[in-house]
């Protein structure tokens, strides 16, 4: 649909598609269906050769004389590759021993995250709240108060951002801190392994389940949407 709007402005488009069933309906002018999991449109992270092959196949569609055209990327994901979608919190049983103190755990995790930043050259997905990792104990205290049903807020929440959206940004930043910190601890870990660790073994995972529960008790669709976005 976006492709259609751009073509109407005179721009040739080529799209990468992850859901063939949808692309067959929408019929963008040129689309390359790739057999990769969500989050993996170009194939595999840190695999420039595969990414170039995907890119080349998408750009080659520009040579087609007429459309709409939908081609399949010929290479399948390799056996043992990531599952098509990460496991959800509801399918992961919390461990019997989970640390009590999420704020202290977050402080520990920050050390691993600093290692991640050194390794990644500063690349991080953390940054939706604008609150630096050094002040995440405050974010954790806010989320704890929120989960307990208190009427809490943070001075860092911009007035135009509704509270449930800000709660979700806090949850997303917390997840980024932990997931990237875990990547520094175990560089070879995949998304499924990290999700299982986060939701079963960390105090932060347990806290976010409680945050989700409070959001989900509301009748306000924005609160429900934030709950669905944090854990399901």
């Amino acid at each position: 649909m976006l492709a259609r709007a751009l073509e109407l402005a005179g721009i040739s488009t080529t799209s990468i598609s992850l859901v063939r069933e949808h692309t067959e309906k929408v019929k963008p002018p040129r689309a390359l269906y790739v057999p990769f999991p969500f989050g993996h449109a170009l194939g595999r992270p840190d695999d420039p050769e595969l990414q170039h092959r995907v890119l080349r196949a998408a750009l080659d569609l520009l040579l087609e004389p007429a459309g709409p055209v939908l081609h399949d990327f010929p290479e399948d994901a390799e056996p043992g590759a990531q599952p098509p979608a990460p496991p959800q919190a509801s399918g992961i049983t919390p461990a019997e021993q989970v640390p009590d103190d999420a704020a202290m755990e977050t402080t520990q995790m920050r050390r691993y995250h600093e290692r991640w930043l050194e390794k990644s050259g500063g690349r991080t997905l953390l940054g939706l709240t604008g609150i630096p990792a050094t002040r995440f104990r405050g974010v954790v205290r806010f989320l704890e108060g929120f989960a307990d049903g208190q009427d809490v807020d943070m001075a860092e929440r911009p007035p135009e951002v509704p509270l449930p959206n800000f709660v979700r940004y806090c949850a997303d930043d917390l997840k980024a801190l932990y997931f990237e910190g875990h990547l520094a601890m175990k560089p070879a870990a995949g998304g499924e392994e990290i999700a299982r660790w986060f939701w079963s073994e960390t105090a932060a995972g347990r806290l976010l389940r409680r945050v989700r529960d409070r959001l989900d008790t509301s009748d306000d669709p924005r609160w429900k949407a934030a709950a669905f976005g944090i854990a399901r």
């Binding site: 040739s12 080529t14 069933e21 449109a41 990414q51 098509p84 979608a85 939706l128 976005g229």
Partner: protein
């Protein structure tokens, strides 16, 4: 993959009930020049933006501009759906926003050049009427005015 029959039930249902637009034909602009002489912009639905720019909210139909020379360390993602694995983009932004790969194509002389900026929308839109009528055409006009010949559209 994600072939629907291999997805968890909740994700499959989410996709099967997704209100995808149905079309029979598509507008189709044949490129006026070869790729080696073309100017390309990425237009992504991965919900990416420059760090410090306004994050997207779910269902947000506005867009963000990402200058093509933005260091990849300054790009973040507020499309944080738990329906996909974000570890891939934590490791490598090129998995959804192949800016380094395109720079390599330009350096090798296979692509004419990059547009001064790329554009980013939020993904997983169930109602995209405003993108269709307003923000999508606006991005088209802006990129056309920048001399962009080709847009590469990428999801997450």
């Amino acid at each position: 993959m994600p072939r629907l029959d291999r997805l968890p039930q909740i994700s499959r249902n989410n996709l099967l009930t997704f209100p995808a637009q149905v079309n029979d034909t598509a507008p189709f602009v044949r490129p006026g020049k070869p790729l080696v002489a073309s100017r390309l912009a990425i237009v992504t639905t991965a919900g990416l933006h420059v760090r410090g720019d306004r994050p997207f909210s779910p269902g947000d139909q506005t867009y963000r501009v990402i200058p093509s020379d933005t260091p990849t360390t300054d790009i973040v993602q507020s499309h944080t759906s738990i329906g996909f694995d974000r570890v891939a983009i934590m490791r490598d932004i090129n998995i959804s926003f192949p800016i380094d790969r395109l720079r390599e194509l330009v350096a090798r002389g296979e692509l004419g050049g990059l547009a001064p900026y790329c554009c980013s929308f939020m993904g997983a839109q169930r109602d995209a009427a405003r993108i269709e009528s307003e923000t999508g055409p606006e991005v088209g006009r802006r990129l056309a005015a920048e001399g962009v010949d080709v847009a590469l559209i990428t999801p997450t």
